[in-house]
């Protein structure tokens, strides 16, 4: 075991990658699911171990094949990406516990092995992006994640053929984003002669005032922001989330865009350095207005949706706006707020999408018009949705409150009218969230169910994981040692000079 524990950084990524191939060969609906869940749980345990290790004894550098960086590929685990690894593998494991019955009803049985293989590949991609310290490696993992997520979204086709066009649209936009990222990496390589992120960072100050570097920063930021679905690059997200199978939507809502938030933080703070990103070329001038317009307009758009999944998808774009706002405040408290929100939003949104998945399982539709009186037909699920919705709005005792609290503190720290304007914008957007959650509540509780429908809850195997997320979100809204604690550790690591 001593041998294994020194190889944790690579094992976290390689185990899901190799099991994906095994999973593709398995038949039936139980075996692939069981394997995927076990593998994801192993990754989860390993990332807990990594996070604890990193927070006690500092960053772990792992040299792939014993080739020393910058020649070899280096996997670097520091408090920031260990925190992200925990979120991703944790959400994935929770979602998988839920997945068996949901997937059995949405994906044809003979394709399930392949479906779970694609799921494991997506997980590999996300974990890989977070853990690697090599710029080109990030691109490779980005594509592993993207290609498998196009497949996962298209797997919603038996329910609604629009999943196919949603996947196609995501493929086009995602590839453009990833290629921009590749151009940026190429320009960085031309100027520094290295692909190791730490190495680029150490040479960055010599070359930061050159034209290729400015172009590289532009390409990298735009590429990442497309993947992140920041307004106005979000068009692929609502369709993708709406037509994908419920499980996939919940998984992506909790993880996929968070990985891009991580990349943005990584490049802005570690590679370019905060002084460059917010001093020499003021990225905040671009990111901050987009974030604010994003969360205001997308919360407003969410109000008018007829489909709950679509409503929550637009709300996700809005919540991503909060995270980018936190980053673009360019302060320690802003970055902490952003990271706390990454965690909190992941757990709340996953819980919400899982409860919508339960409704889809029982009713076969997520259009509001088909869900009238769902509160009486599925009381437990609907109550879970309402509690999750409170978390999204940011009611005290929920994690949404914690992250908005930190965000508002960070905005006030900015001082002057800008700070007050930002606080007002966040509050207005929260009020809009009240409206769109209320629309669902109104349909669910204040309309009578159609004639002849009986009380039908989703099976326990789906309800329990869903409620784990909902109750977990309340736990993290009250006891903030985990989410805020690790976010602060990551922030002070990033800003405290690595």
């Amino acid at each position: 075991m001593v041998f294994l524990s020194t190889h944790l950084p690579i094992l976290t990524v390689v185990i899901p990658l190799l099991s994906a191939a095994v999973c593709a060969l398995l038949k039936g609906k139980n075996l692939p699911w069981a394997l995927t869940t076990i593998i994801s749980a192993i990754s989860f345990l390993m990332s807990i171990q990594l996070l604890l290790e990193v927070n006690v004894s500092g960053p772990i550098s792992y040299e792939l094949g014993s080739w020393a960086p910058p020649w070899g590929i280096e996997y670097l685990v520091d408090p920031l990406n260990a925190f992200l690894l925990l979120i991703i593998s944790g959400i994935s494991t929770g979602v998988l516990l839920y997945a068996r019955d949901s997937i059995a009803s949405e994906v044809p049985e003979k394709q399930q092995g392949l479906f779970y293989a694609a799921y494991l590949l997506a997980l590999t991609g996300m974990l890989g992006i977070c853990i690697t310290g090599d710029a080109f490696n990030i691109f490779v993992f980005l594509e592993i994640m993207s290609l498998s997520s196009y497949v996962l979204i298209a797997a919603g086709a038996p329910q609604d053929k629009r999943a196919l066009t949603a996947a196609y649209q995501y493929l086009i936009i995602g590839t453009v984003g990833a290629t921009f990222f590749l151009i940026g990496v190429g320009l960085l390589y031309v100027m520094t002669g290295t692909l190791n992120l730490a190495d680029i960072a150490s040479r960055f100050s010599e070359i930061e005032d050159t034209r290729p570097i400015r172009a590289a920063v532009g390409f990298l930021v735009v590429g990442i922001v497309i993947k992140l679905a920041l307004f106005p690059f979000h068009v692929w997200l609502p369709n993708g989330y709406t037509y994908a199978p419920s499980v996939v939507t919940a998984f992506f809502a909790g993880t996929a865009t968070k990985v891009s938030v991580y990349l943005l933080i990584r490049f802005i703070y570690t590679v370019f350095g905060g002084d460059y990103s917010f001093g020499i070329i003021d990225l905040a001038d671009i990111l901050l207005p987009l974030a604010v317009i994003g969360f205001l307009s997308m919360s407003a758009v969410a109000i008018f949706q007829k489909n709950i999944k679509r409503l929550l998808a637009y709300s996700s774009v809005a919540q991503l706006g909060y995270m980018v706002l936190g980053i673009s405040l360019a302060s320690e408290s802003g970055l902490t707020a952003s990271l706390v929100h990454v965690f909190n939003h992941a757990i709340v949104k996953t819980g919400l999408f899982l409860s919508v998945g339960c409704m889809f399982y029982a009713v076969g539709s997520v259009y509001l018009k088909d869900l009238e009186g769902i509160g009486q037909r599925m009381p437990i699920t609907t109550f879970g949705f309402v509690l999750g919705g409170l978390g999204l709005i940011g009611v005290p005792l929920t994690p949404g409150f914690i992250s908005k609290w930190y965000l508002i503190l960070a905005a006030l720290e900015k001082g002057s009218y800008l700070g007050y304007a930002l606080v007002t914008a966040v509050l207005v957007s929260s009020l809009l969230a009240v409206i769109y959650i209320w629309r669902v509540v109104e349909v669910a509780y204040f309309r009578s169910p159609p004639e002849g429908t009986e009380k039908a809850e989703a099976p326990l195997s789906m309800l329990v994981p869903c409620w784990i997320f909902i109750l977990g979100s309340f736990y993290f809204g009250i006891d903030t040692t985990i989410n805020v604690g690790f976010a602060e550790a990551a922030t002070s690591f990033l800003l405290g000079g690595s």
Binding site: V140, Y150, K161, Y168, T175, T179, G186, Y189, L195, K306
Partner: protein, 123 residues
């Protein structure tokens, strides 16, 4: 002097043609052709930046010993782009297979017609 950046100009021109094709065509296959062009321009960019004028392939040959020190091209970008080409092929293959499924489901591969069909679906 501008001619010395010939490769890079070609990259930029191809990049723009590719991106324009992706945005302007409504035929899904043509969009994918544009996307491939867009990716290929980046491959050219990587290959150009690894090339050193007068440089040979970085293979150490015994016979060269004693001869004047040979100049090698940088192999790393070339190797990297091999990976990116594989990714590009995978993306195109996945995109085309999606187009096949879209054709089966909607009976057309024209984006405008698909959008029309989709908006009918929502009613």
């Amino acid at each position: 002097m501008y001619f010395s950046y010939f490769n890079y100009w070609i990259c930029i021109i191809l990049l723009m043609i590719g991106l324009y094709t992706v945005m302007s065509r409504s035929n899904l296959v043509k969009k994918l052709i544009g996307l491939s062009l867009f990716q290929i321009s980046v491959f050219l960019f990587y290959i150009s930046m690894g090339k050193i004028s007068g440089g040979t392939a970085p293979i150490v040959v015994e016979a060269l010993e004693g001869a004047p020190e040979p100049v090698y091209s940088n192999p790393l970008p070339h190797v990297l782009i091999l990976t990116a080409i594989v990714v590009g092929v995978a993306t195109t293959a996945l995109g085309l297979s999606l187009v096949v499924r879209i054709k089966e489901a909607f009976g057309t591969i024209d984006e405008d017609e698909i959008l029309e069909l989709e908006s009918e679906e929502d009613k």
